[in-house]
Symmetry: C2
Subunit: 199 residues, 2 copies
């Protein structure tokens, strides 16, 4: 991806996290990215094209910082890391009070909420969700290899939807971050105990 | 509440469900409600006042149709209704493809998403969430009277956050309604089994 294209997508995530999708103005985006409005239209055709690419970009960035932080050996990773520990780390990385996590989660939540009104965003959103659910189901399957595939997928759908629900409460200031993290950690334990009971 | 005040709030929920909070224009709202713009400002002072009252109105309407449908004896209510059955009914009533449920859930999701950017909405939102979590915790406590209070509250926080996450996926068209309902029903079973293990 060209540097300027990346700069536009980074700026779009920043502006969406600041004002929401409906607050995104191409003028402000151009200023934030340090490019002309024409270049934005050249790369993304129209507003919908820009939003779709931003959704994919924000989603890929979550995957990247999740992988980077896991590789960098965060304090929690110093304990022997079984598959469940890795799953917990991956899900809890999105509930952290770090500027880039907050920005990314806010932008993701906004793009998700916009898809209710903008069917053209749904393809990207559905694809990202399917891949995410698949990854979480695989991690659950490493921990509970004898659990049925359908049960792993159902647990993964619940855990990822719960994370989105908790994240929205945290970002709107009605659930403290520590509570959101505790609820998420407990949910993983509850789902894994459920899967163990199906063995 | 005066009839015209109610008409304005009903119209606000309709317009927000149609176009989102940021698509809400006072002109369109006045037309939808059949009142003047001046009357809207007379009753609600400003846009924030209107959004706050709409949030409370949408929240009360969920409680009302939940209670009405339970009292009207929906098919599901014909089976002997234990506390868990009542809880399942209450939570699943919000995942139904009926126009008023879809409208209410869409408006609620939008107002919730807006609170990320509008701190003035957070008081109403936090209050509604606390009351809802309390109700669900009480229903769980009727089913599992010996479970610790803190565990009931934690389970209720997870179930309500999960419902918001599943509802958002359903409304944005990336999760079929039947799957959302199945995941929710399973989650209640999983949480209740967890609470039983704590007895």
């Amino acid at each position: 991806m060209s540097d300027r294209r990346t700069a536009i997508l980074e700026a779009a995530a920043t502006v969406i996290a600041r004002r929401g999708v409906r607050g995104l103005r191409v003028e402000e985006l151009a200023e934030e990215a340090g490019v002309s409005k024409a270049l934005i239209y050249y790369h993304f055709e129209d507003r919908t094209g820009l939003l779709r690419r931003t959704l994919a970009f924000v989603n890929n960035r979550v995957e990247r910082y999740t992988a980077e932080q896991a590789a960098a050996g965060q304090p929690a990773a110093e304990t022997p890391a079984g598959p469940l520990r890795r799953l917990e780390q991956a899900l809890l990385l999105e509930l952290q009070d770090l500027p880039h996590v907050r920005e990314n989660s806010t932008a993701w939540g906004e793009l998700r909420a916009s898809a209710v009104f903008d069917p053209e965003l749904r393809g990207e959103l559905a694809l990202a969700s399917v891949i995410w659910v698949r990854e979480v189901a695989d991690q659950l399957g490493e921990a509970r290899p004898t659990a049925p595939e359908s049960a792993l997928t159902a647990s993964a759908e619940r855990l990822t939807a719960l994370l989105e629900g908790l994240s929205a409460r945290w970002l709107s200031g009605i659930l403290p971050l520590t509570d959101a993290r505790t609820r998420m950690r407990e949910a993983i334990g509850v789902e894994v105990a459920h899967l163990a009971g199906l063995d």
